[in-house]
Every structure is written in structure tokens, then in C-alpha cells.
Symmetry: C2
């Protein structure tokens, strides 16, 4: 005892974490411990690109079941949306509708119906989901806060007005708010984090609610005579790509997807973006509206995009070629390689300007992460220059 | 169609959330929606004070199972703690040990052994869990950062040095860190929120880890010859009361509990502390280290304290008489009314100075909540004046 004790004291620097039987060093930092727990928890449904077409089909089914388990959408039937206002715009009619996704809530949305589109002449339709801090008014080309569509629309046609751009192409375009922002703000304050906290307390999550609100509207779209239910597109900008991925996993009837953000492995980003700031503090790369317990231990974003195969997808803001290779391979397995299209930021369009990494190194800050992931964040916007030609091809193919 | 549309337009103020079949008004605020979802999710195991002794026993069992389900403690066996340093102090010996709660981590703790306590003359023991921002060194009366116990202890004996106060009473006292603070900080930064985020991502939570680290040490205490395993006390200060409640639900062999914080219904607090600040923003009353998905939909703090019955508990910093009445009733049902003792803050000791509410009103800020819950937060400290007499009685009873 005495001898053992002396030995112990002799090898007792303050943070001696090694246990006699240890192979690897141990950490005293709780954050480092939690980080390695997450590192060890590899996504259970990670894509295996050596799968056969049959195995791929089975995997896609599991991906859908996994997403349904995590999103916890209500089973109760919802009341039908009600139209409460409408106005004529240049080339289309805009309508304000209110949906009732939960007994407690009312969620408004806009429907843009191009002139000439009728029950007798239905059109393809697109559900437009905005980014963080954006509103359905911005997306619909209306003035901020003009919920009742009174008077004139927005004086300028912005790139972010994706619903307008789609309507001018002849599609019925629906524009929605994400929870906690715009008309869904609390007291005029966009409170993503606080709303997320309440949802997490009861075992739900922000994306679960966001995707449920969108699903209620998407399902309603299928019942509208002016809309071709077999030609539904979901277009997500930035934060809006998250509900897009959920809807894509839960609903095989969706026809195509516009993924307007850079694509990355969100789990990897959380594990490598851990450079301490000047005070030594290390953070998590995003806020609690992105906290979906057990999402990243089930699949990462590229896995989900790959599981959209064989349906047409366009990714417009690049990322790591590593991930695009894998998704392209998935589309090959699914027998539709031509249905996955992706574009890098102009800054990284030239392959010579891109980083090609199999994995990202530890200790990155946000800027270093963006550089290594080929992301030009100042040029994050709705990429009409890629999306509209892609849409024309999609529609042309359809006419054949 | 046209007629219906006109009608709709006529009743179309911007935020008309009512659906034709609605009984209650609906909200457009996501936070308000999430709040009402939480309001509707009453704790499934809420205490029913009309229970029989038999029903109470069954309920206690369910409470333990519920806590185990939520805490998700690892099943894998852990390596035995190792002693790495020791020093003699005035009236007791202090030892530094390192525990290995997870393969990735090393968690140090101190053991204070009063002079004269030996394997032949074992003593009761107390596990001392500090509050937010406090360290095991503070609790053990050692200098901050002096992990190896080199040289002199802290120059003053602070109230917060609960382990020292217990050791001076003849108990073996163990002092631990909470995760993310003190020696478990990351880079010298106490990062409760970031650590919690990583744990939540993988489907675990801060309290799950904190209580697991403490359980590993508590279980080790039972194996020590100087300790009477049938006389283990858990003493929690502030944040430390949370792992105390968990250990109490999971381990019926714990003898008694010191709950040194005000007691409140944490779920109710989150639902009523929603007064907007000057910018209109409404917040959640605490940070993510307190976010335990589905905890508050299973039970609230008073339910858990009630389920500690029939074992001795002292609550030292008051709260609402409503809750103490219910807990006292639970102790009556369990046949040990004398085993629940509680004290209000001096400021509220006179019943005439207390608020007596069956439920708290909406729209409170922190100060209003404290006032209505009889909390004198500036006087939040380890209440030796109540705890030591309680301890003497407990020990005296034991000698009978």
C-alpha cells in the first residue's frame, strides 16, 4: 500500500489521465470527451457506395424510416388550409392561405399562380423554403410585413424572390416561413433558439416542426386542381435545405429538388471546427435550431442527398468533391446518373482552385473550414444562373 | 368559389389565426406554439398525493425506471479509480483519486478522511457535488488549480467548502467536479453549453454524463473499507442538486440527501418566466446544461424529491409551500413524515413574508419569479446553520 502510494505520487502531474491499462490517452476536458463520443458515433446509415441497386433501394427505405423516427411528425389529421386574401401581380395571381399544422398554431403561406394556369390547365409546382432570417414575403416578392398583400409588391425583383422567379417560368410557386421568423416570430423577434429549446425539452426539435409545417402545405398542394401532383419540386435556400432533405426522405412522390447551399458533412464540421478563440474558448458551429438529437449519428447531409436518388437534384453552391463523388456514385447505383447536377461557387469553378481532401483536419476556424470546403460565403445567394437552365431541361425532358 | 373568397377576404386581418372549427385562439408565434405544446405535455409521472403506500412504492419504482431511461448511463464496466496523491490537513487526510467513467475520459476527485477513521473504524460518508462555476478544490478547501495538493490548503475555510465541514464532523467526504468546469474545463474555459451540445447531438445530455461520473464515484465509495456503505449521504449545492436527484432515483442504498438550493417546478418556471425584455425578446430561464429532453415531460423537481421518500432529505433554501406540502404528504404516505425537513430563506422565514400561490402567473421576469417563489438569491450559499444540526440528529438517531 505504502509503496504503491509513493509510486502513485511520483507519477502525479496535475492532469495525469492515463489508466494503467490505457492504450490511448484520456482527456480531462468534458468537451473533448463529448467530442470523441460523437467521433465514435459514426452514422449508422452512412452510405456504402459498393451497394447493389437492390441494396440501395433497401437502404433508401431505411433512410426514410430513420428520418421519420427522428422528425416525430404528428399522426393527427390537420384542418384544411383556408384562403384569406389574394391580389393580382405582373404575370401571376398571389393568394394568402392559412394552414393549421397543430391545434395550437396557424401558419400562413402564399401561393403564386401564373396567368393561364387553371384546373383545366394545371402546372408543375414548387415549394419554396427560405433561409435563416428570410421571410415568405421576401421569397414571394412582397413587401416585408405586408401579410395581407395590400397595395404594391416589392419594388425590386430580388434574387431571393425564388417563388416569383419560378412563377414567371410557369410554375405554381408556394412560399413559406420557417418557424420562429417572419410572421412566425415571437413579439416581432426571430427567436429560433428559444423556440428550439422548448421543442427539445418535450423531445421534439426545430427541424421536426419546420418539416411538419412544410409537409402539411406540400400535401395540400397535391390536392389543388391547378397543380400537377406528379410534378412537385422542393426548393430550399440555406436553412431551407434542411426541411427539403426531410421532405425528400419522407415523400417519394416529390419530383425534383433545388438544394441551394454548399453541401458538407455537418457532423465532420462540428468535429473539426474547434480552433479556440483568443480566450481559449471553442464553440459549436451552429445554434440550437440545428440541434436534432441523433440526426448526425444516423446520417449526415451527403447521405440524405444521395438517398434522394434517382430523383433530379441540383446542388448550386459546391462543397467538397469527395462528397459529390459519393452522391454521383449513388445516382449511378440508382440508375439515373444524369439526375444529379452540382455546381461549385464561381471562385472555385476552376478545378485548380479547389481543395481536394478526403477528410478535414482538426483545429479549423470558420474561415479555414470554408476555404477547405470550397465555400465562398460572401456569394451565398439563390443561383438563378444554374437553377433556371436546369429547370428548363427538366421541363423539356418532361415534354418529350 | 367567388362568394367564399369574398367572405374570406372580408375577415382577413394580417394575423387571423382562427380556424372555423376552433374553440381556442391559435398563435402565429412559434415560441408560443412550442410553449403550449410543453404546457400540454404534463409530466406523465406527476405525483398523486392520494396514492396508497402500495401505489406510492409502485410509483417510486416507475420514477427510477423513468430516470434511468432519460439518463442513459453506460452499461460497460469501468476501470477502478487510482490514487495519485495525498496530503495531511488539519484533522483529516486528503487524497486525490482519478476515476475512469468512460474510455475517453479521466475524472479526478478528492477524498477527505478524518483522523481516526480506518478500515477498523469506518465512518459514514458524503458525496459533495458543487454548484455552477464551482470546483472540487473549492468544495474540498484546497487552492484553485492545486490539483496535486502541493503545499498548503485554502487560507480560509469557506462555507462552500462543504467536504471540509463534513470531514470535521467525522464523515469521509468526497468532492467532485461537475462536467465542463474546473479540472474538467476545456482549455481552461468552463464550457457547459458547448459540451452539452455535443452530448445532445448524440442523444445524451449533460445531466446524464454528470450523474454517471458521480455514480461511478459513489459506487466506488461503497467499496472503501473506511466507509460505511449503508451510511452514504449525497449533498448537492445548486447545480449539484440535479445529479443528487438522479442518484437518488437510481440508487435506493443512499441513506440521506442534502438539497441545498431553492426547490421549484422547473417546468412551470419555464412556462411563466416569459416577460419580454425591452427589445421584445423572451428567453428560456436556463442554459443547455439543463436541457434534458423529456425530463420535464416525465416528472418535475418536486416529484423527484418526493420520490426520495422515505429517506431523510433536507431542503435548505425554500421555495413554494405548495410544493413542500406535496412532498411532506409523500413522506406521510411513505410512513416517514419526520424524514423530510425544509427551511425557507431567512428573508421568508416568517410565514407572513411568504407568497402562497397554487400556480405562478404568466409573464414573469427573473426577479418577479424569485419573489413569488420566496427565493432570496443574493443569499444563495451552503446553509451550514441548517445542515449541521440536521446531520447531528441524523447521526444521533443512528446511535440509538
Amino acid at each position: 500500500m505504502k509503496k504503491l502510494l509513493l509510486a502513485a505520487i511520483m507519477l502525479a502531474p496535475a492532469v495525469l489521465p492515463i489508466h494503467a491499462q490505457d492504450a490511448a490517452p484520456r482527456s480531462t476536458s468534458t468537451r473533448a470527451t463529448a467530442e470523441s463520443l460523437m467521433r465514435a458515433a459514426k452514422p449508422t446509415l452512412e452510405l456504402d457506395t459498393t451497394m447493389s441497386a437492390e441494396q440501395f433501394a433497401t437502404w433508401r427505405k431505411k433512410m426514410g424510416e430513420g428520418m421519420a423516427r427522428i422528425m416525430k411528425h404528428p399522426a393527427a389529421p390537420v384542418a384544411a388550409p383556408v384562403k384569406v386574401a389574394e391580389a393580382q401581380r405582373d404575370g401571376y395571381r398571389i393568394e394568402r392561405w392559412i394552414s393549421y399544422p397543430l391545434p395550437e398554431s396557424a401558419v400562413a403561406f402564399y401561393v403564386l399562380i401564373p396567368n393561364g394556369v387553371t384546373a383545366e390547365n394545371p402546372a408543375p409546382a414548387v415549394l419554396c423554403i427560405p433561409g435563416f432570417g428570410q421571410t415568405k414575403e421576401l421569397v414571394a416578392g412582397e413587401r416585408q410585413g405586408n401579410f395581407d398583400l395590400v397595395g404594391e409588391p416589392d419594388s425590386v425583383l430580388r434574387k431571393a424572390a425564388m417563388a416569383v422567379h419560378f412563377a414567371k417560368e410557369g410554375l405554381v410557386a408556394v412560399s413559406v416561413d420557417n418557424p420562429s421568423c417572419g410572421e412566425l416570430s415571437d413579439n416581432g423577434v426571430a427567436d429560433y433558439v428559444t423556440s428550439s429549446r422548448f421543442l427539445l425539452e418535450i423531445g421534439w426539435n426545430y427541424l421536426g416542426l419546420a418539416s411538419w409545417q412544410d409537409k402539411v402545405i406540400l400535401d395540400w398542394m397535391k390536392t389543388q386542381p391547378e397543380i400537377r401532383p406528379d410534378r412537385l419540386i422542393v426548393s430550399g435556400f440555406s436553412l431551407g435545405t434542411e426541411p427539403l432533405m426531410v421532405l425528400g426522405m419522407l415523400d417519394d412522390s416529390i419530383y425534383a429538388f433545388v438544394y441551394n447551399d454548399f453541401l458538407c458533412r455537418t457532423r465532420e464540421r462540428a468535429l473539426v471546427m474547434n480552433k479556440p478563440n483568443q480566450n481559449g474558448a471553442r464553440f459549436f458551429p451552429n445554434n440550437d435550431e440545428h440541434l436534432i438529437p441523433e440526426f448526425l449519428t444516423t446520417f449526415d447531409f451527403p447521405d440524405v442527398v444521395a438517398a434522394l436518388a434517382p430523383r433530379p437534384v441540383i446542388c448550386t453552391e459546391g462543397g467538397m468533391d469527395r462528397d459529390f463523388k459519393i452522391i454521383s456514385k449513388a445516382y449511378e447505383i440508382a440508375g439515373a446518373p444524369e439526375n444529379f447536377e452540382y455546381h461549385h461557387y464561381a471562385k472555385y469553378a476552376d478545378p485548380a482552385n479547389r481543395q481536394y481532401l478526403d477528410s478535414l483536419p482538426n483545429g479549423l476556424d470558420r474561415n479555414e473550414f470554408f476555404r477547405l470546403a470550397n465555400v465562398d460565403s460572401p456569394n451565398h445567394y439563390f443561383k438563378l444562373e444554374w437553377i433556371m437552365p436546369w429547370l428548363h431541361n427538366l421541363m423539356a425532358k418532361d415534354k418529350k
